[in-house]
Subunit: 469 residues, 2 copies
Amino acid sequence: MLDAMRSLLGLENVLTGDDAVPWGRDATGKYVGTPRAVLRPFDTAQVSAILAAANDSGTGIVPVSGNTGLNGGAFAEDQIVVSLDRMRKVRDIRPETRLAVVEAGVILSDLHEAAHAEGLSFPMTFGARGSARIGGILATNAGGSNVLRYGNTRDLVLGIEAVMADGRVMNLLTELHKNNTGYDLRHLLIGAEGTLGIITAAVVKLVPRPRAYATATIATGSLADALTLLNRLREASSGAVEAFEYMPDSYISGHLDAIPGAREPFSERHPVTLLTELGATSPKEAEPGPDGEIPLVATLEATLAEAMEDGLVRDATIARSESQRTEMWARREAAAEIAFHKRPFVDTDIALPLDRLQAFFDEVRARLARLDAGATDLAVAHLGDGNIHYTVYPTTDDAALLGQVRDIIDTTSVELGGTFSAEHGIGISKLGPMSRFKDPVALSAMQAIKRALDPKGILNPGKTLPAES
Amino acid sequence: MLDAMRSLLGLENVLTGDDAVPWGRDATGKYVGTPRAVLRPFDTAQVSAILAAANDSGTGIVPVSGNTGLNGGAFAEDQIVVSLDRMRKVRDIRPETRLAVVEAGVILSDLHEAAHAEGLSFPMTFGARGSARIGGILATNAGGSNVLRYGNTRDLVLGIEAVMADGRVMNLLTELHKNNTGYDLRHLLIGAEGTLGIITAAVVKLVPRPRAYATATIATGSLADALTLLNRLREASSGAVEAFEYMPDSYISGHLDAIPGAREPFSERHPVTLLTELGATSPKEAEPGPDGEIPLVATLEATLAEAMEDGLVRDATIARSESQRTEMWARREAAAEIAFHKRPFVDTDIALPLDRLQAFFDEVRARLARLDAGATDLAVAHLGDGNIHYTVYPTTDDAALLGQVRDIIDTTSVELGGTFSAEHGIGISKLGPMSRFKDPVALSAMQAIKRALDPKGILNPGKTLPAES
């Protein structure tokens, strides 16, 4: 097959041996494989030809775009990697209808810049935006820090173009906001991690770029008070809350330990520290009034003042300058450095119903104390989405213990109506919890769909779906 | 099978003969069938037992809830109707987390009332809200008049419970806003018109109920000016535009002809008449200021004034009382009486990219003139969604002519990047356009999924998907 690929793609776009090594190593370093080869198609027709050939020969294909996933979704051992990094055209931007047509290899931050040039924004964003690409973002239905206002990736996609297992190109590149014509195959492929087809392009929604932000660090006595405050802020601002991030006492301590120059957010410690940011999209909300204050900032201030009178809020600081805003975000965005500052650790990506977060912490800590009394933990959360990045530090790095810790976290989350996989997907690292916790009827439906659309099983083999028992 | 059903459901819930007749007739009266029987299960377990028995015996099942569909999706001829009208429990409402768990038989207006009692709203709404039920609304991914702000039905659903073809119950009743655990079967079943499973319950999002409305009737010189105005209104109001409805000159004339007491919207006629409504969800937007004016109304007024100075808007009237608002909506909601006032007619449910609406009207009228020079037309549109209900009045009721007219409308829409089915679904009336216009790769993927999930083809046979060639 590789000779055919060399004539199709050109010698320089069929990589083997040492040239293929970079594609064998993912962002986490946890998954290191040896791809048989890496193919770098330039357009959809080449992806189509690749899959037709792979399907004929029953060759396993692993689609990769930015390779920034955290669960081994792009792991390839003796399989052929199809890298979409050369398909990076923004095919079209239509400011009047607020959409863009982008190829799978477009880097997220490049799409941000292209939208900003039109005074618009593509609101999906997260730490890896400088290297993550649209293909992987769609394949994992990525979340991030603006989901509260703008939704997950799938909520920002109007249409897709995808190459199916047999190489046929499915053109669903619609711009329509209403289009009920059979099963929604767009949503089926988004989040399927390349196991049902390779998404080569998408029509994505753009939104008005906020003209100003209202940002604050807030202390409350409990998660329940924080949730009540979130609802008040959303109502007072007509839904302008873009981020509502939770940092417990242990996170503040971890920040001071791990980050040189880190400062206490408040003169005294509080159980709950929050970072919230509201985005002003209308001139009326963004333009300073006679008193020089931005109206949306005044709304935030008034809502916090009322919440303090009601005893909901214990303390609060509103960012009065871009440097204050930057310091507030730096505290939140240091999460990885803080969480991985100590070893051994077990890190997770769970989500719970908003009103069961405290019950989760109470229950999981009781269970962990019985397993490993000396274990400590660290949490940081996209609180508005119920999405917690919860890290536990066991007293030993015994593999069995680490597994038991992970199991307690996943089990407790699921028992409380939560999930073991919120925004990072399944890949290979979460196949175990998929078998144990996912509704068995749903699992068998997924297996049936996989067999129907990829009968030879060539698309990202071994990912997303557990082997059938 | 019916005897087993009588002992399962009770005699009174297995209807045959004359008792079954009401279920054979749909809201349009276009589709009249003779169900072999009507089964009225009370809960999910009974639906499960029904499908298990039907699958064993290979009996075709037609799921029905409110039976208000327009495309024959609930048509049953010698098949067994499963009516979900007895499954009308609102299982749970959680105001703090803004969601409701509702069964498939809940009437839309009942859910509206249940949400209002909590100061919240379920924003999906349309004319048939007093009889349409959740099951059918999910099965067709219904649209309606608030899609501009709140999205289609699927955008309001967090989780579903469904009974699959073999009777197994798939429990995806999650409340989570982030949950990436395999293929999104929720979105696959929503809009599948009961051909892949019967949705028995759903977790739906609730939103803050608007505290006040800003409503206006507006005249512009062109659709292009109307679209520019829409973007200005959305930006000025931070996305508070809930409705943006288009009524051309011919619609205004039709209104005066068909509706006693109807009045001209303006002293002179304009090419484009618009009805827009903004919803104020925050007290700050809704509470009258010192001048007694509602802030969101002031925003609407200021935006319209600026647009008039710029020549975008030719005239405008803002509703100053509930009775004025009611008169404005009455003009728009008389669409059915106006459109079906003359016969013969061909009515359609198309959608186009927002910036191609005028091109559609120009092209379709040129083609219709060549076919039937005397034909006239009437349009009314959810302009913000690009969704046009376009009715043509041919000069004769010759069946071939009516078919050619429909074909010209569908073809012109598709050629301009639009759809032949925006918000009413496929059912049986749009199987023809599905075969002709839907991407063939997508069609064969849908067929493969149908075979995989309903191998005996018992679920709503003959609907949604054209017979395979």
